[in-house]
């Protein structure tokens, strides 16, 4: 089916559809590692420079002298077909960049919240955020060496998750494992979509 589409004359065919999946979680939990494990390119980095316009929302207390802040996001790409491209964005870890999350979450079909059982509380803000927004998400427990193994239902209880939210184990370095996490997310998002559609009909 590959007709060398990348060499198509510019503007000759309709542009593909792009969809967005977020990868969230605490600092150092392996967001960029997971993005890199499934991306067809090494993760790229893009930056937003915030100036005075962002100050009303961005809590700059303590750094008042600073007029600009740079927020970096790592992302990767998976080309599904000529018509469909998936972008995976690692969310910036700091709470004061929530408004960047708002931009990222807009139109995202779902999110993976990566958790480290040694620092479970680090993923609470991400979970709160996606619950509040109604963004479908799954929790993927990244299995670090040296971390005690918990049962998934223990993690689910510790995070006080709705019973429907999938919790899976993963190794963010492994492509197959990262793929499985994304498939779980998409299946979950599809189920939620169907449930919401039914609820809207009732």
């Amino acid at each position: 089916m590959d007709y060398g589409r990348s060499e198509r004359p510019a503007g000759a065919a309709p542009l593909p559809t792009a969809i967005k999946i977020l990868v969230a979680g605490g600092f150092g939990v392996g967001k960029t590692t997971l993005v890199g494990a499934v991306s067809e390119t090494r993760p790229l980095r893009t930056e937003e420079v915030l100036t005075e316009t962002g100050v009303g929302i961005d809590d700059l207390s303590g750094v008042e002298g600073k007029s600009t802040t740079t927020v970096a996001m790592d992302f990767g790409r998976i080309t599904i077909s000529d018509d469909l491209v998936v972008y995976l964005f690692g969310t910036p870890g700091q709470d004061r960049f929530w408004f960047v999350w708002d931009e990222l979450a807009l139109g995202a079909i779902g999110a993976v919240v990566l958790a480290d059982t040694r620092r479970l509380a680090d993923c609470f803000p991400s979970i709160d955020y996606f619950e509040g927004r109604g963004t479908p998400f799954v929790v993927a427990v990244n299995c670090f060496e040296g971390a005690r193994n918990y049962r998934l239902d223990e993690v689910q209880a510790a995070l006080d998750l709705d019973p429907g939210v999938p919790v899976v184990l993963c190794d963010a370095r492994e492509r197959e494992s990262a793929k499985e996490v994304l498939v779980t997310l998409l299946e979950h998002a599809m189920k939620l979509r169907e449930a919401r559609r039914r609820a809207a009909e009732d």
């Binding site: 510019a10 559809t17 790229l44 990222l104 939620l192």
Partner: protein
């Protein structure tokens, strides 16, 4: 089709091709694009092989047109040119106003999620990776 154009594009995606001027200098001090919103995953493609004799364009505009001979997202353009996303949006606005690039905004999914067929295609695509 022309190998020359491909290699020209590759030159612009060199990791070491960082900016030599501040972002605002690149946009002539403008913070917002003249047209368009440009989501991070809006897809951009050049409508022409080069910018021809268009005047008033800077090297960054030309770099975007060269890069977008292949379809790129706004985020990818920003990453490859090592420019902040806000700067790239301004430059893309200029190019859209001159019809030098075509942009596809992502489906508006804030109110809902895409079709089931999209989910199925992504799931099947991931499994086939």
């Amino acid at each position: 089709m022309t190998g020359g154009r491909e290699s020209a594009a590759d030159e612009w995606v060199d990791d070491h091709a960082g900016p030599v001027v501040r972002p605002y200098a690149v946009t002539g001090g403008r913070a917002r694009p003249v047209t368009g919103t440009f989501d991070l995953i809006s897809l951009v493609t050049a409508t022409r092989a080069d910018t021809g004799a268009e005047s008033g364009l800077g090297p960054e505009h030309l770099a975007i047109v060269a890069l977008c001979q292949r379809i790129q997202s706004v985020a990818e353009i920003a990453a490859h040119l090592d420019l902040p996303v806000g700067t790239v949006r301004v430059l893309l606005g200029d190019l859209v106003a001159r019809s030098l690039v075509e942009v596809r905004e992502p489906r508006a999914t804030s109110a809902g999620l895409p079709d089931e067929s999209v989910f199925e295609a992504v799931i099947n695509g991931l499994r086939a990776l």
